[in-house]
Subunit: 327 residues, 2 copies
């Protein structure tokens, strides 16, 4: 709604929404849905299935994707690795099979079916983009795919997750674990299943996507990495005293996702809470900041950090992907 | 020489050098020059004009560009704004007119003839790239042109120059001005005319290129900015005592290039030495580091920092540009 005029003026793009789905149903209209109306329905806690005429209760997203006439799918269902990354994976797969571009910040389908989905997109001549899957609005994957081309990446260090830093900072402040988790829930930064973030699964999934983007940029069929390849330690075992004493020594704990290139070109992957000195490129990240550092052979060391005061930048990553495909 | 196999394997690119020029002459051979031989000549302090058979003493770069058969020109002559950005500008213009892509980290031609050169490239259907002109190996311009698309950029802050930070750090260490300049010369970080860096011209030129990249991404013919639009203060007037006392208070001086968006969409430009707190995204830059910060409406605030231990990353920016055009 806000960017419509800019997209028309700057890129000659007139984007119309023809379908929308949520967990209770979907709406589809070839002539287009009214964005303001869709937003009103969602903001009032209702479902798009109640969109006048076009909506149908119980109509599943994947069914709509299987029949709609559209150029591009924006897939943003919750990450769900336990349930085979559904419903996201089926929606993404269905769209690609039908020759529809896909933009998704959903880590699930990309982690579970990286090769299949990329092959499918290539076969169909459509694009699959998921820049928002790693470090929100930070263009981490674009840095790898475009700006670091021609380089060997010796090491990647990333703090790709907000909530773990938030939690560790509160604990270092002296706030108790229970109170800390309650506040994180309240702020909406913690998923319903807190172990996804706190046990480092989220950071590990993002690391896998990041490293596969590096590996995939190489020639030939590289052996891609998987979640199981990450030596993962979450933050739930941390003693608040450890965090407090690190702070007293001028250090800040962050859940660091790391990839170290081995001599054979493969990567050693780990996710581990670490005390960082202020001199570390990620050593002064605030509660709303994420970052990634690439150590390379020819481009020196490049660090990129994002400050996300609200969820907008993560959402905007989908606009970035869309523009990259369409404009 | 080092990246040849990687470029072939990864991108299917087999790059051959057909011509080379320096201030004393040029060499051209349609069948290709031997890179190792060219390098040996230069490293021994000799000229490419003495390349066996292919070299000619006194043959000017621009003349070679006017007659050679090539796909792409890598133009890396020294910045020379006083002399109309020559010989770079003529080489760039000649190449574009002849339908040859141009990659250059030379700020001169881009600052002086931005619109003319872009129009020429567009007419001829070739690419003009100069990512290395701003902050060395940091992909600052690519961030603007690709990753921040769809955004309004409220503010840009940049430390795009190494030598001024180096000089201010030495002064803060208590080293005298003369000794500081001697060391900077010795390290090769200072141009022959030190005023280019120390009076802020270099930072101003980089700011102009950065802001014009932002403005040019908008629809329609924007009013581009020029060097004269930058309120510029160099570092030569700084009292060492000021730098020392800032450091005692935990701050670090950097020559900050800043662009602030006005209500009408134009930018207020300045280059000014400023004491930065450690919390500032550019507040902890070391002597070999440069950085840029973009404050945007939808992508939050994105900071990118590069650590350049040697001149390789700045040189590699030309490879990045080349790959972006050819691969």
């Amino acid at each position: 709604l806000e960017k419509g005029p800019l997209l028309r003026d700057r890129y000659g793009l007139d984007i119309g929404l023809v379908g929308a789905a949520d967990s209770r149903g979907a709406a589809y209209c070839e002539a287009g849905l009214d964005l303001a109306q869709v937003m009103r329905l969602k903001q009032s806690g209702d479902t798009v299935a109640r969109y006048p005429d076009a909506g149908r209760l119980g109509w599943r997203a994947a069914e709509m994707v299987a029949t709609c006439d559209a150029d591009l799918l924006l897939e943003a269902s919750p990450v769900n690795l336990n349930a085979g990354a559904e419903p996201g994976l089926t929606c993404v797969r269905t769209a690609l099979r039908r020759g529809i571009h896909v933009v998704t910040p959903n880590k699930g389908p990309i982690v579970l079916a990286y090769r299949e989905l990329h092959d499918l997109a290539a076969e169909q001549g459509v694009e699959l983009r998921y820049d928002g899957a790693v470090a929100g609005g930070l263009p981490a994957l674009y840095l790898v795919r475009r700006d670091l081309r021609g380089a060997r990446i010796h090491r990647i260090e990333a703090v790709p997750n907000l909530v773990t830093g938030y939690v560790m900072d509160l604990l270092a402040d002296g706030v108790a674990w229970e109170e800390t988790l309650a506040r994180a829930h309240q702020e909406g930064v913690l998923e319903e299943d807190p172990s996804w973030d706190l046990e480092g699964w989220d950071a590990a999934a993002k690391l896998v996507i990041l490293v596969n983007s590096v590996l995939d940029a190489r020639a030939g069929r590289q052996h891609l990495v998987q979640l199981e390849d990450v030596a993962r330690t979450g933050i739930t075992g941390l003693e608040p005293e450890t965090l407090r004493s690190a702070r007293a020594q001028g250090m800040r704990y962050r859940l660091l996702a790391k990839a170290e290139c081995r001599a054979d070109g493969s990567y050693r992957l780990s996710v581990l809470p670490e005390p960082l000195l202020p001199e570390h490129p990620l050593g002064r990240l605030g509660r709303k900041q994420m970052g990634v550092v690439f150590s390379t052979d020819i481009y020196g060391t490049i660090a990129a950090i994002i400050d996300e005061p609200d969820p907008m930048p993560s959402a905007a990553s989908m606009l970035r992907d869309l523009l990259d495909i369409m404009a």
